[in-house]
Structures are given as C-alpha cells and as structure tokens.
C-alpha cells in the first residue's frame, strides 16, 4: 500500500478532524443542542412571526391598557421562571401567557425587554436562536469584590465556578474524566452522595445542563461511552472570562497575562462576557 500519493488528502482529512481549542463565540452559533431535553416544537412550529404590518393592525384593535397588562404578565412569567434559572421557551410563553395576543407578540416582547432594562436592571437575552429560548441576565456591572448585599449564597455556584474555570483554562472543551478527577481532589466525589450537593453527578450533568450553564456532549466512537464538557449558552452570557482569569491569577499568584491564549480569548470582545444582544431584533 502506498500512502505517498494520497498524503496531501490524508493530511487534509487529519486537519479537519483536528480539534482546535474553539473560540466559543463562533461555536455558540453552530452549537447543537444534542444532549438537551427533547423539546415539544408543535406549538412553536405553528407560531409564525407576525409581520410589522400585522403587528400594527393588532395594536390598533387593543387599548393601551390591555397591551400593558399583557406585557406585565409576560414580565411576571419570566421573573418566576427565572427563579430556577431554567430558560423560557417561546412556545411556552405564547401558549401560557400571550395566548390571544400572539399577533402582537413582537411588540409585547419588545416592551417586556424595555421593562426589564429600565425597571429591574435585567437584560432579556435570546440564547438559542434556533429553538427560541430566553434567559434573564443582570445588566448591572458586577462588583469587584463580594456584593454588599448579604444575601445567602448558593454553594452550587462555587462548584460551577470551579468547573467553568477548568473548562476555560483547558481551551473550552474537556473530557468528563478530567472534571470528575478535579472534583474528587476538591473532596467532591461524583460516585458518592455529598453532604452539601447530594447527587453530584446528576447536578452537574443534568441540572447545570438544563440551566444551560454547561454542555454535556457524547464523544462519538468511544467505548465505554465518554462525554465532554463545554460552556453552555447561559455561561457564555452570564460569566465573565476576564474575571475568571483574574481569579486564576489570584489563586496561583501570577499575572493573568501569563496565560496568553486564555487572556487573548477573554479580552478579544468588547464585553468580556459574550452575551448575544437582546431580543428586540431577534425573535
């Protein structure tokens, strides 16, 4: 067998299969929601985005009070859904809240986004353009040190920070075993019940994934089945890579700039957190 002739071809094949540490900005747009809960798209499929003229006509038939009322209901729905940090699907929103007002849906969503911004200091973010999912993100600047408000902290966020840090510092994708081993070194064994977190494996692979903090994707052709972890869409919107790098610098007592690749990645965009813009233009 001679491989000499086909070498350029083989090299091309090898290069496409080579896994570069992908910048999460480009990959977020072609992200597949492979491992996520199967979504009922029936309602969404029947919902067609009304055109601007349709919206105008719809608005003319309603009183301002009615539109305000509907907007307020949408705002409340989001706020309550956000308690568990689960993303909101457009289909659910239309089915449960908007209902008969679906012909002016874009206008309602625009007003709701404005309310979130002006009243609550929150940003309505569309994290999944394909499946139309939304989350709420804090629009205010994060404090440098701990927040002055002494609200009870959620220890899960500490664990999440550890996991996200490892993934980021390792280039954006890690095999699941690396995460499990790191957690074991932190006295958190995914095989055992932890006194603070309970079923750790379920929390990391199910809860964090459904909240879109993490992505847990199967690696093809592995036997036994292995998965890899990446940052989820919510993490992309909420978490600041620059601040994580700062934290790394504090822990290791090094200048964050010594991690040149990660530093470049963290500071390559105008905002350190790569949030997709609010939903007024995208639906």
């Amino acid at each position: 067998m001679t491989f000499g002739d086909s070498l350029p071809f083989m090299r091309c094949v090898a290069m496409t299969q080579r896994k570069r540490p992908s910048s999460t900005q480009s990959s977020s747009q072609r992200r597949h929601t492979g491992n996520l809960v199967a979504q009922d798209e029936d309602d969404d499929a029947t919902f067609t985005q009304p055109s601007t003229s349709q919206v105008q006509r719809g608005l003319e038939k309603l009183t301002p009070a009615q539109v305000d009322q509907k907007t307020a209901e949408v705002v409340q729905y989001f706020l309550v859904k956000d308690q568990k940090k689960m993303p909101v699907r457009r289909a659910d929103l239309v089915k449960h809240v908007v209902k008969d007002y679906r012909n002016i849906y874009p206008e309602i969503l625009k007003r709701a986004a404005r309310t979130f911004d002006q009243v609550f200091g929150l940003k309505l973010v569309e994290i999944d353009p394909k499946n139309k999912m939304y989350i709420l993100v804090n629009n205010l600047e994060t404090p440098d040190k701990a927040s002055p408000v002494r609200s009870p902290s959620n220890p899960k966020m500490g664990l999440l920070l550890a996991i996200l840090s490892v993934i980021f510092m390792k280039g954006g994708v890690v095999r699941e075993n690396l995460i499990w081993n790191t957690l074991r070194k932190l006295r958190v064994d995914p095989g055992e019940k932890h006194e603070e977190f309970g079923d750790v494996r379920k929390m990391v692979t199910d809860e964090f994934v459904r909240q879109r903090y993490l992505e847990y994707v199967r690696i093809p052709h592995t036997e036994p089945i292995e998965h890899e972890f990446r940052w989820g869409q919510r993490a992309d919107a909420e978490v600041s890579k620059a601040k994580i790098l700062e934290f790394m610098g504090e822990l290791h007592e090094q200048d964050p700039k010594t991690w040149t690749q990660q530093y470049r990645q963290a500071h390559s965009l105008p905002n350190s957190s790569q949030a997709s813009t609010s939903s007024s233009s995208q639906r």
């Binding site: 067998m1 491989f3 000499g4 070498l7 090299r11 094949v13 090898a14 080579r18 309550v80 956000d82 308690q83 940090k85 609550f120 929150l122 989350i135 709420l136 993100v137 804090n138 629009n139 205010l140 994060t142 040190k145 701990a146 927040s147 609200s151 902290s153 959620n154 220890p155 899960k156 966020m157 500490g158 920070l161 550890a162 840090s165 490892v166 390792k170 280039g171 075993n177 690396l178 790191t182 070194k185 932190l186 006295r187 603070e196 052709h221 036997e223 919107a237 909420e238 978490v239 600041s240 601040k243 934290f247 790394m248 822990l251 290791h252 010594t258 991690w259 040149t260 690749q261 957190s273």
Partner: protein, 383 residues
C-alpha cells in the same frame, strides 16, 4: 523513538495527530518523512507474507509492510541521526524455531502489554504532567516487547497500546502548543482548597502522598460561591418578600382529625357502662368539695369564733378566677343545706358564718326577703 523524545526535550515539533478508535495516523514533519501506521486488525498479515514484503522493501523508503511497519518505523526513526535509510531491520532470524516456547512467551508478552495499557490508563494524569518522561518509558518498554512479537494477536495489543499512548501524546502536545503557562488542574485544586479555608494538619510527610489531610470548614463552598458572584452576571431571583400562601390545606390538620375520630368511636361504644360511673363520680366530687369547704369554715371559726369572715375573702382565689367561681358554687351548697349562713355586717359587706342549727332554707328566704329570683331560669328567658 525520536518523535516522543522531542516532547520530553520540549522542542516544539509541528505535528498533526488524528486519533480515533480504528486508525491512528502519525505524521511528523520534523523527520520530513511521513510514516503511516495504520492500526487495525485487518492490516496484519501472516508472518511469512510480511517477511516477504519486508525483504522486497528493504532498500526502499516509504513502502513498508503494514505489520512490521511499527517496529521498522520506530527503529528507523531511532537510527535517524546515524543511518538514513536503514530499511527493514532484522526480523528474519529465529522466527519459526521453538514453537513450544512460543506459547509461554506469547502469553507473557500479552500480559506485559496489558499491564502497560492499564498503567497508561490508570496513571493518565500522572503521565500528562510535563515534569516526567513516563510516557517515553512506556513506549520504550513497548519497543522492547515488540521485538518478540510474531503473531497478530500480540501485535493487536501493541496497536491498542499505541492508540492509548498517542491519545495521551496528543494531549501532551496540546499542552506544549499553548503559549504561556500551562494550566494544571491538580495545582488549581490545591489552590482552591486553600482558598476555601482548608485546615491542613501539621505533618506533611511527602507532598506526593496526596491523601486527604485536613478538613474543609462548613462554609467552604459558600466562600467560593461568594467569590463567584463577582464573575457571574446572574439575575437575582425574584421572590415575594413575605412568601406566598399555600393553596392546599396543610396535611397535618387532616391527620389530627382522623386521630380524633378514631378514639371517639371507641368511646361511644363503651359509653353506656361508663356514663353512670362518671355521673356518680361527678356528684361525689362536688360533695367532697363542699365538705372540704365546710372544713375550712369550721377551722376558721375554731381559731377565732367572734370575728366575722368576709365572704369575699373566703371565696376569692386571687390567682384563679375559675377557682373563685368554683368556691362560690360550693359555698352555695353549704348555704342551701343550712350549714352556713350569709349576713351583712355593719358596713353592709357580706359575711359568711356557721350555722349552729340546721335551718331550712325558708329562713334565709324570709331573712333576705327574697321574693323573686334575680337570675331568671333558662326556660323563662325565651318568652
């Protein structure tokens, strides 16, 4: 194998590695002569045909029999500096001899290969650390073993070892690739533990021991969570300040109702026999009380026969209103039975005294000139 040696010496070799389960392709531009090592069971030929091919390609460069490709390629790379095209090295001698020893030897080889494979898999993180050459040692060990490999079965194990090793090599390469400092999750975990307030025990014998020494404080994860708040732009959760109300009735009430129902049913069944006893005992209790109060009255009179006893002082219990009422009730029996008498003293305050003679109640009625009862009996109130 010069490829791996380059790693340990920290030279940056441009290399592209593609690994998947069925084929691993190593190309190295440093050697400037790509050699391919398709690893799959179907590529392995029998000994004889492979040897024939080896002889054919002895002088050549790139064409090599698949089976011996690995060893020849490896040895070729080893001799890279000294000889250029030393093609297929000596596989020839002493192949087919000693079939009896073969079986034992083969088993030994296979077992050693399996040990190597498991050692790479178990100590993966250890081998990844840039501070040691363990991966090279494993490969050198594999090279030695491969010299004795004659059959496809052992060669398949060799191939499996190479798949695992190249996977590790790829990760090591990616560590090299990153400019700047590498990131070590183990060190990160250690620093995190310190940040969370781990109280280490005094004696650290050797740092490599890595056993759990020290304990984490209760709020360890909360400390980290607080630090996380600075990195996250989480929307604060919306909750009603005073909480919400529950729409369903709370379960405990239902349980209490059920408990009460059960004993009452039993009580009904045995009531006919018990009721008489209760009534009797009630009457007895009243009588006893009345007698007790008569006793008090008598004792007061014995102490001081002349001074009158104020009625209020007699019946009132300053600590309990209900007992006061009971006292009044029982005293009224004394008066009804004529064992005591009530009268007004000089200041028109009611006093209670003993009756020496049993008087019918008619006397009291006459004495007080009671014509009509002030408290209307119940049946007349509904008029």
């Amino acid at each position: 194998m010069c490829l791996w040696l380059n790693f340990e010496k920290n030279c940056v070799a441009t290399l592209g590695i593609c690994t998947n389960k069925t084929s691993s392709i190593l190309t190295t531009e440093a050697v400037n002569r790509p050699f391919l090592y398709p690893v799959s069971k179907t590529c392995f030929r029998s000994r004889t045909s492979a040897r024939v091919k080896m002889k054919r390609s002895k002088g050549g460069g790139d064409e090599e029999a698949p089976r011996h490709n690995g060893s020849a390629g490896r040895r070729k790379a080893d001799q890279q500096q000294s000889d250029g095209d030393e093609g297929g090295s000596d596989i020839g001698p002493a192949d087919l001899q000693d079939d009896d020893n073969d079986q034992g030897l083969r088993r030994e080889i296979r077992s050693k290969y399996r040990d190597l494979i498991s050692s790479v898999q178990q100590n993966r993180e250890d081998m990844l650390s840039p501070s040691n050459n363990k991966l090279t040692e494993v490969l050198e060990e594999a090279n030695k073993l491969f010299k004795d490999v004659r059959q496809a079965r052992e060669a398949a194990l060799d191939a499996q070892l190479l798949v695992v090793a190249t996977d590790l090599g790829k990760e090591k390469a990616s560590q090299l690739f990153s400019e700047g400092t590498a990131f070590d999750p183990t060190a990160f975990a250690e620093h995190l533990l310190s940040f969370m307030g781990l109280n280490r025990l005094e004696d650290d014998e050797d740092e490599q021991q890595n056993t759990a020494n020290g304990y984490l404080p209760q709020d360890a994860w909360h400390r980290l969570a607080r630090r996380a708040e600075c990195c996250f732009r989480t929307a604060p959760s919306f909750h009603y300040m005073m909480g919400s109300f529950y729409a369903e009735p709370p379960p405990p009430k239902q349980r209490i109702e059920r408990q009460r129902k059960a004993p009452s049913k039993e009580a009904k069944r045995i009531m006919p026999t018990q009721l008489k006893k209760m009534e009797e005992s009630q009457q007895e209790a009243t009588e006893k009380e009345v007698e007790r109060i008569l006793g008090y009255l008598k004792s007061y009179y014995q102490d001081d026969p002349t001074s009158p006893i104020s009625y209020y002082e007699f019946v009132i219990d300053p600590s309990s209103f209900s007992r006061t009422v009971e006292n009044i009730f029982h005293t009224s029996f004394l008066i009804r039975d004529g064992l005591a008498r009530m009268y007004l003293d000089e200041e028109k305050l009611p006093c209670i005294g003993e009756m020496i003679l049993l008087c019918p109640s008619q006397e009291l009625i006459d004495a007080f000139d009671i014509k009509d009862s002030i408290i209307r009996p119940p049946n007349t109130q509904n008029d």
